[in-house]
């Protein structure tokens, strides 16, 4: 028996390092493995012994693409321990900076990483030769997210202005006001984006997923909500560990997440959208319907459309906050240090980002655990490939490889800060 191997020399439009292997016997997919590293495991160790007030500055370093997700999860969890409740303008500013991250992250993926798949290009650079105006619009749209992140986060990468209880410094009204006109343009550009990507040709692959996302009584979820699913889960975040387990698998240094006694689940834009369509703004709902999306979507290849709808939402939500903003009396809420444990989950661009901490009575971290969305989605990505590759086996290896990569990119996996190599092995078992 010989093994047929296809390799990519460098990582193509996926954040970080990964290797993928599919084993085919007699025309049937026997297994699919996605192997990645998960830097947050190192960070959990780094955090032990540090003051809980340092945690958001440390967790911001986990990822250059979605630092706010790691800051928001940590500050909310620690505030629960310290009995701090953040409301009013501070809560709104937290939603605003998260909107900035969603815009930045989603637009990067839509225009630079995922659109080339659908338009038949190897990269955004190749796509730009024929579709320069499209790429330029994506670049301009992403800048709005960058600007929000810089104003509120203090700098563009690894923001330093988020703290337990609020912010180190809050902006004056005049600092946020110029964003309003830019966000109006961005909202219109995002609507155009939905219309553009909805015209792409989507493989007809879908599965019966268990979608898991936050759900809030009034809002499309960012920082708060119960953890719900389309298969009956409806729990407070405090029940996360009783409901979801992390398990080690031999082929990955990242832990896989499973719903106990049930299995893989799907977190991220498709899950959020399908569980929270009624919480979108009327405009976002309308453009989603015009794009041909129902109130739920089970085709992961259409995640690019859902991301674009979420950009519309993020622009509108950011605009609402900017227009209504009145600075708070104080930039943060303080509270006495006390020992305890607390957990929280927020909606990172790629899905649920779960944090649990224990601190002692001096405020030092004695335990930390972080479950990143990409590690939660790993088993589902593997099941997608196991399920879908069977339909693609007649494709030449190069096209099969491309289709597999596209299926992985549906999840915008962020395997950040690792090396840069994706290797795909297709073992057809042909003698």
């Amino acid at each position: 028996m010989t093994r047929k191997t296809i390799k990519l020399d460098y990582l193509a439009r996926v954040e970080g390092e990964g290797a993928f292997k599919v084993v085919v016997r007699d025309g049937t997919v026997k297994s699919a493995e996605l192997r990645i590293f998960e830097p947050p495991r190192f960070f959990e160790a780094f955090l032990r012994g540090r003051s809980c007030l340092e945690v958001p500055d440390i967790t911001a370093r986990i990822c250059g693409i979605c630092p706010i997700a790691y800051q928001m999860g940590s500050v909310h969890a620690i505030e629960k321990i310290l009995g701090i409740k953040v409301g009013g303008p501070l809560r709104e500013l937290r939603r605003l900076i998260y909107c900035g991250e969603w815009i930045e992250s989603h637009v990067l993926h839509i225009y630079m990483l995922h659109a080339p798949d659908f338009l038949g290009y190897d990269s955004a650079i190749h796509m730009a030769k024929d579709h320069g105006d499209i790429v330029k619009k994506g670049l301009e749209l992403k800048k709005i997210g960058n600007e929000i992140m810089t104003i509120l986060g203090g700098r563009e990468i690894h923001p330093i202005n988020v703290r337990v209880g609020g912010f180190y410094r809050v902006p004056a009204r005049r600092e946020l006001a110029p964003l309003a006109d830019k966000l109006k343009w961005a909202r219109d550009a995002a609507i155009d984006t939905v219309r553009l990507v909805s015209t792409f040709d989507f493989p007809d692959n879908q599965r019966d997923y268990e979608f898991v996302a936050l759900r809030h009584p009034d809002e499309y979820p960012l920082n708060e909500g119960r953890l719900v699913s389309n298969k009956g889960m409806d729990i407070p975040i405090e029940d996360y560990d009783d409901t979801i387990e992390e398990v080690h698998v031999e082929h990955s240094t990242a832990l896989h997440s499973h719903i106990r006694a049930r299995g893989a689940y799907f977190t991220g834009p498709l899950a959020r959208y399908s569980l929270n369509f009624d919480r979108l703004t009327p405009t976002a709902q309308q453009v989603a319907r015009e794009a041909g999306l129902g109130e739920t979507c089970n085709n992961p290849f259409k995640s690019i459309v859902v991301r674009a709808v979420e950009v519309v939402y993020a622009c509108e939500e950011a605009l609402r906050i900017v227009q209504a903003y009145e600075p708070p009396d104080r930039p943060f809420i303080d509270g006495p240090m006390r020992a305890g444990s607390g957990c929280h989950a927020t909606e990172a661009p790629r899905g649920i980002c779960y944090h649990r901490y224990t601190i002692d009575d001096s405020g030092s971290v004695t335990f930390a655990r972080i479950a990143a969305p990409t590690s939660q989605n790993q088993p589902t990505i593997e099941k997608d490939l196991t399920s879908f590759v069977g339909d693609w086996l007649d494709l030449p290896d190069k096209e099969l490889q491309h289709r597999c990569e596209q299926a992985i990119r549906n999840y915008d996996p962020c395997i950040s800060c690792s090396a840069h190599f994706l290797r795909l092995d297709v073992d057809r078992g042909q003698g």
Binding site: R13, R61, L108, V135, L139, H158, C417, H420
Partner: protein
């Protein structure tokens, strides 16, 4: 449009020699006060492009693995053509420095002068410090860029620092 020189230090300070570009940028921030805009970036292409598209000249510093001894300094005139292929492997994210330059070239958003200094790295492990040879190279590169920028400014006296 005013003439703006931009310096970008690119990399990840948490990954050993991958932080070489950003360490160099920190040296240059003090050396170039008022003469250039100095930024540190993680290497994501669109963020790089946003910083350079309105500049008259840009200097980028990044770590490299071009099969040279650690600390070797490569100076690449990227306005003349693409970076060496293996450069594209190095960014912390798949869409990195080489992509930013080529995207800028395709969209006609590349400054007329684009100089990339690549410092050959040795260790890219999480949590590692800069290797000694790479640390030395950051000071050499900072000095060379300072001289290049001074020579671009006709009103400045000739650069007196020895080029290494």
């Amino acid at each position: 449009m005013t003439s703006t020189i931009v310096v970008l230090g690119i990399g990840n300070l948490e990954r050993g020699d991958d932080g070489a570009g950003r360490v160099t940028a920190r040296l240059l921030r003090h050396m170039l006060a008022g003469r250039a805009e100095v930024y540190e970036l993680d290497g994501e292409a669109t963020a790089i492009l946003a910083k350079i598209e309105d500049a008259s000249a840009v200097f980028m510093i990044d770590a490299s693995r071009l099969q040279a001894p650690p600390g070797t300094v490569h100076r690449i005139d990227a306005a003349q053509g693409p970076l060496p292929q293996s450069r594209s492997d190095l960014s912390s994210h798949g869409f990195g420095v080489a992509a930013a330059i080529e995207l800028g070239r395709t969209l006609a958003r590349l400054p007329s002068a684009v100089i990339v200094y690549a410092i050959e790295g040795e260790c890219f492990e999480v949590g590692a410090p800069l290797s000694p040879a790479v640390s030395t190279a950051t000071t050499i590169v900072a000095d060379r860029i300072r001289c290049e920028i001074e020579e671009m400014d006709a009103s400045s006296p000739p650069c007196t620092r020895r080029r290494r």
